[in-house]
Amino acid sequence: MISFLQQVVFGVLVGGLYGLAAAGLSLVFGVLKILNVAHGELLMLGGYTTFWFFTLAGLDPFLSLLITWPLLFALGVLLYGGLFRFVAAADEETRIKNSVLIGFGLSLALHNVAILLWTADERGVTTDYSGTVWRLGGLAFPLTRVATLVFAGLMILGLHWFLTRTYAGKAIRATAADWEAGALVGINLNRTYRTAFALGSAAAGVAGTLVSVVYAVSPNIGLEWTLKALIVVVLAGLGSMPGTFAGGLILGVTESASSILIGAPYKEVVGLFLFLAVLLWRPQGLFAR
């Protein structure tokens, strides 16, 4: 029983990362109506940024968030201006189709950039406090994992606050609901799209930093994380950051519970069945209005 509860705890802890990885993707998908399948590669770049600053300058990984966030925000601005801006001008079906294609090419390119810069080895960040574990009622709570959950939650709250309380955030939500009406009332669509894309990219970068602390970063992790994020987006539906976070927790717990119940090698299959089930019975997602 304890070991099962322990798995649930680990599931919640990793679920926070799933939620954050999905938040950026969900934002971009919901607002620009484009699907960036290179989202996981942006996450990977965030992880490598932290790895680099930790190894080269000894910077604490959680402090490096102050670098990852703006760096990935800037990269998002560049990617939007250089690639996705052209897609966002098309009608909705073409948007999705072309963004998926461009994202696919981009993910391959970034994957190989990472191999060139950091080799194909797995890289991780190990700090003095990496081994610290809190014990509570027979359950283990590794310090770094708890910290990633807290930071992921804070990041989600920040996004939620920005989207619901600031003018730029409200413009993003209005555009997501109806871009034509948004343009009519004077919202600058291009700027709003750019902000949303850059925010999504920065969120991916933050998630990458947190991944590098708890797991490892390698050029291969991009597609894996894109996939987790996609499953969460389908699970949670679009339009709510806290909903996306909850979707991430559900996926995390489901995965860990199933690795105990039916065996770790089949853990990923459970995600697929979750995905198919939601598609069949509730395609708008569990938490959508």
């Binding site: 294609l101 090419g105 390119a109 996939l227 499953i231 090698p265 089949y266 697929l272 995905f275 598609l279």
Partner: protein, 314 residues
């Protein structure tokens, strides 16, 4: 072929000539490297064409094509090693791929937008990870099979596969059903309103596409002496299919063939010189083609031909 317009009829004729020429190749040469490159080319043609049938003709973007290639390879390989005749094993692989395609297609095709792309991407990646977890080993030919290994039967099987894929694409592109594909590709609501069933058309294209991809996987399993079981599920196969189709000309019959030839040749050159960066170049090239040359090489050729011909005075 007689009922076809002039362009496709000429293409068909060229195809038959090419088929005869390729069929004669093993009689003329015994150079292993040449025959091996051609086998790779034939499998590539089938892979690209199988993606094109669904993605180009019917307009449904499949980001997990490797799942169907991999399912065909895995099924065929395991059954073949279990003493089943190779033809039956490959056919079973194709059926497995079709079954998998319907499992993801039935729910995803009911919905619009990105669900099919997401679903297929997820399917392929999850299969790759799971197969890698359960069978993390290299699949090598048993000694008895190695003793009988010869490139020539593989060559003819792969040639037949490539020809079949082109014929399937041509039949779907020039028969009555092609109008249905065009209608759902351009405007699904209008298609449904005029009595074209989107779901039935998408599923037909899906079955043809995944069936061909499964066959290609089966031939891959028949051809290769050793590879990791999870290797045919790698997203690189999906990328290959997409890249070849788009470089050649998506939604046409000749495009994927042209794209495959271009890609296989370029890869032969690039892999030797730029081991590290060739995939980076291909990734960038692909993005460039999607953004700036949506008709691929075929469109570029047509434009060139039109430039050379003087325009008739108006």
């Amino acid at each position: 072929m007689m009922g076809l317009p002039r362009g496709p009829r000429r293409m068909g004729l060229a195809g038959v000539v090419a088929l005869v020429a390729f069929a004669a190749a093993p009689l003329v040469t015994t150079r292993g490297d040449l025959l091996n490159t051609l086998v790779v080319l034939f499998i590539s043609v089938a892979l690209a064409q199988s993606w094109n049938v669904l993605g180009g003709l019917a307009g449904q973007v499949n980001l997990g094509h490797a799942a169907f290639f991999g399912a065909g390879a895995l099924t065929a390989r395991l059954l073949w090693f279990a003493q089943m005749p190779i033809a039956l094993a490959v056919a079973a692989g194709s059926l497995a791929a079709i079954a998998l395609g319907l499992v993801i297609g039935l729910p995803a095709f009911r919905l619009r937008g990105a669900y099919f792309a997401i679903g297929t991407l997820g399917l392929a990646e999850i299969l790759r990870i799971t197969v890698g977890n359960i069978l993390p080993v290299i699949s090598a030919l048993p000694a008895e099979y190695v003793r009988h290994y010869s490139i020539v039967p593989r060559y003819f099987v792969a040639l037949g596969l490539a020809a079949l894929s082109v014929v399937v694409a041509a039949v779907l592109a020039y028969s009555k059903v092609s109008y249905g594909f065009g209608a759902i590709r351009e405007d699904e609501d209008a298609a449904a309103a005029s009595g074209v069933g989107p779901l039935a058309h998408k599923l037909l294209a899906m079955a043809a596409s995944t069936g061909l991809a499964g066959l290609a996987g089966g031939v891959f399993a028949y051809y290769h002496a050793s590879y990791y079981y999870a290797h045919p599920f790698s997203p690189l196969w999906t990328f290959d299919a997409l890249l070849m189709t788009f470089i050649g000309g998506v939604g046409t019959v000749a495009g994927p063939v042209l794209g495959a030839a271009f890609y296989v040749l370029l890869k032969e050159v690039l892999v030797v010189r730029l081991v590290e960066t060739h995939l980076l170049i291909f990734g960038a090239l692909f993005v460039l083609v999607v953004l700036t040359l949506p008709g691929g090489l075929l469109e570029a050729l047509h434009k060139l031909a039109r430039l050379r011909k003087p325009r008739p005075a108006a």
